[in-house]
């Protein structure tokens, strides 16, 4: 007789789910990077420059990755509960697995984006084309890798946890209840970016003449907003039933 010993179910579930998420995300990122590289080549390389800002890494980072990862996270609760609750994993352990997946996914994507900023700087350095950004950021230049990573990690984590939260709300309260709570969820999900004062929210601050919070305050507050969404997810998941037909 051979028996297995179960070590840390949360980590085991993370290990089982992460490869699928990574493959899907890698495929998406490869396509997105290829598309934005072609756009950058046409605009900058072939002299089709306009007055617009030059950073295409920023263009990519500000757009689809957060929505893609947020969409991917929509199914975290339903997937984890349906697959692993019947395997004897508790909801609390599944919450930690979901947290690891969301924050880990955001960290990997933020690292890739920080790398893209660096590659862009490397390519454009010496060409005479200055790197300019469309929206405000915590960083001033693409070589501030740590700050680039931190800003995008918080923004991506916020969207991933938001997607997860929306999935949990719909799972818990059904279609109509979920729709009713969608707007508060979205506002909560946008809060970290609003606190950081970056991206299109930062652009809106500029237009309205609002001074963003100092980084020393905005970063901890942004992280705290993500933590609040995680806590809400925990509250929603902790006694969520797995609904199946009865007999």
């Amino acid at each position: 007789m051979t028996t297995t010993t179960r070590r840390s179910p949360a980590l085991t579930v993370t290990r089982l789910v992460a490869p699928t998420m990574l493959w899907i995300s890698a495929l998406y990122l490869a396509i997105a990077i290829a598309v934005f590289t072609v756009i950058a080549y046409v605009e900058l390389g072939l002299g089709e420059r306009t007055d617009e800002s030059t950073s295409h890494a920023e263009l990519l980072a500000n757009s689809s990755p957060r929505f893609f990862l947020g969409s991917l996270a929509l199914i975290v609760t339903s997937t984890l509960l349906a697959h692993y609750l019947p395997m004897g994993v508790t909801r609390r352990q599944l919450f930690w697995a979901g947290t690891t997946l969301a924050l880990g996914g955001a960290a990997v994507a933020a690292a890739v984006i920080a790398g893209l900023f660096l590659v862009e700087w490397f390519v454009l350095d010496g060409t005479g084309i200055p790197i300019t950004y469309r929206t405000p950021h915590l960083f001033d230049g693409s070589t501030q890798v740590g700050t680039v990573f931190l800003e995008h990690f918080i923004a991506l984590a916020a969207f991933m946890v938001l997607g997860w939260l929306i999935g949990s709300v719909f799972g818990r309260y059904g279609g109509w209840g979920g729709l009713g709570l969608l707007l508060p969820c979205l506002l909560l999900g946008l809060l970290p970016e609003a606190l950081l004062g970056v991206g299109w929210v930062g652009q809106a601050y500029d237009a309205l003449g609002i001074e963003p919070l100092p980084t020393a305050a905005s970063v901890p507050l942004g992280i705290a907003a993500v933590a609040v969404m995680l806590l809400l997810n925990h509250r929603l998941m902790r006694d969520m039933p797995l609904r199946r037909p009865t007999s």
Binding site: T3, P86, V89, R92, D239, R244
Partner: protein, 293 residues
């Protein structure tokens, strides 16, 4: 290792309507228990509570003396096998990866036994679950249930998709593995005739209430089957509740509910009528008949 299961005034509401209406029972553990009931009687609801898939609305449920809900000691040791892979989304998985997942998460998983069962039920490891026939999907579920060696193993109509030879192979396997590794096995089914010989105790649910919880032999002794010359059998049936009646030529067989006193039995034997045990299925049908509620 065996776990006891105890329920006290256990209730579960589902979207405002009661699925379980206050159930009390105690299973000492270390036995094969039958849970039978008509469709919608609350069998799956009760088993879902034992497996912590849902939380009771009220009442107490104890597995090995502890509340199983979100209990990291109990939950891995309760394996509920349902014939519903399709609903859970697991159908995108391959057979091999599904088994590896179970192996990683079930603390008492027996890989050698799982491999033997995969061969017995001729499951293709590399195929996607979605491409398997209903019978093969049932077999996959059953393999997980048996090889998990969970102290509480529950088969919730998990074997109804199997063809007859595979079902009998499954019954043999349950009995053999239970003898080798005693644990608490609960089998829910409406194929009562096929499995009643396995049950040590039987619980009958009806409309969310526990109608019967008895030792299987005691339950069977609540009735008797009488087989013999039609006229002699008819003479005996007066005043008795007949559950089932079959006629073949001049021979008649009836199943009656209730005690038959010694005098009546003596008269029956003298008239060439044989008395035998009642079938669990007949009792089940009688006890859950609508006009009896």
């Amino acid at each position: 290792m065996t776990y006891s299961i105890e329920a006290r005034d256990l209730r579960l509401d589902y979207r405002g309507s009661p699925a379980l209406r206050g159930i009390d029972f105690r299973l000492a553990g270390g036995g094969i228990y039958g849970l039978i009931g008509r469709n919608g009687s609350g069998k799956t609801s009760l088993l879902s509570l034992v497996a912590s898939l849902a939380k009771p609305t009220a009442g107490t449920l104890l597995v090995d003396g502890e509340d199983p809900f979100e209990n990291p000691r109990i939950m891995p040791d309760v394996c509920l096998v349902q014939d519903r892979i399709k609903d859970s989304g697991d159908e995108i998985w391959k057979v091999g990866s599904f088994l590896r997942t179970a192996a990683a998460l079930r603390p008492r998983w027996d890989q050698e036994y799982a491999d033997r069962l995969v061969d017995l039920f001729e499951l293709p490891r590399r195929k996607r679950i979605s491409s398997l026939s209903l019978g093969k999907r049932s077999a996959l579920n059953i393999i997980v249930g048996l090889a998990s060696r969970a102290p509480v193993t529950i088969f919730d109509e998990a074997y109804v998709g199997l063809d007859a030879p595979s079902r009998y192979a499954f019954y043999d396997e349950v009995l053999a593995d239970y003898m080798a590794h005693p644990r608490t096995v609960i089998m829910s089914s409406h194929l009562v005739e096929e499995v009643d010989s396995l049950f040590e105790e039987v619980l009958i649910l009806d409309e969310g209430r526990l109608l019967v919880h008895e030792d299987t032999d005691d339950l069977r002794s609540r009735g008797v089957s009488l087989t013999g010359p039609a006229q002699a059998v008819d003479d005996l049936r007066h005043g008795l509740t007949v559950l089932n009646e079959q006629v073949l030529g001049g021979t008649k067989s009836i199943t009656v509910y209730g005690d038959l006193d010694e005098d009546a039995l003596s008269r029956a034997r003298a008239a060439g009528v044989e008395a035998g045990p009642v079938r669990l299925q007949d009792l089940f049908v009688h006890l859950t008949r609508k006009d009896r509620r």
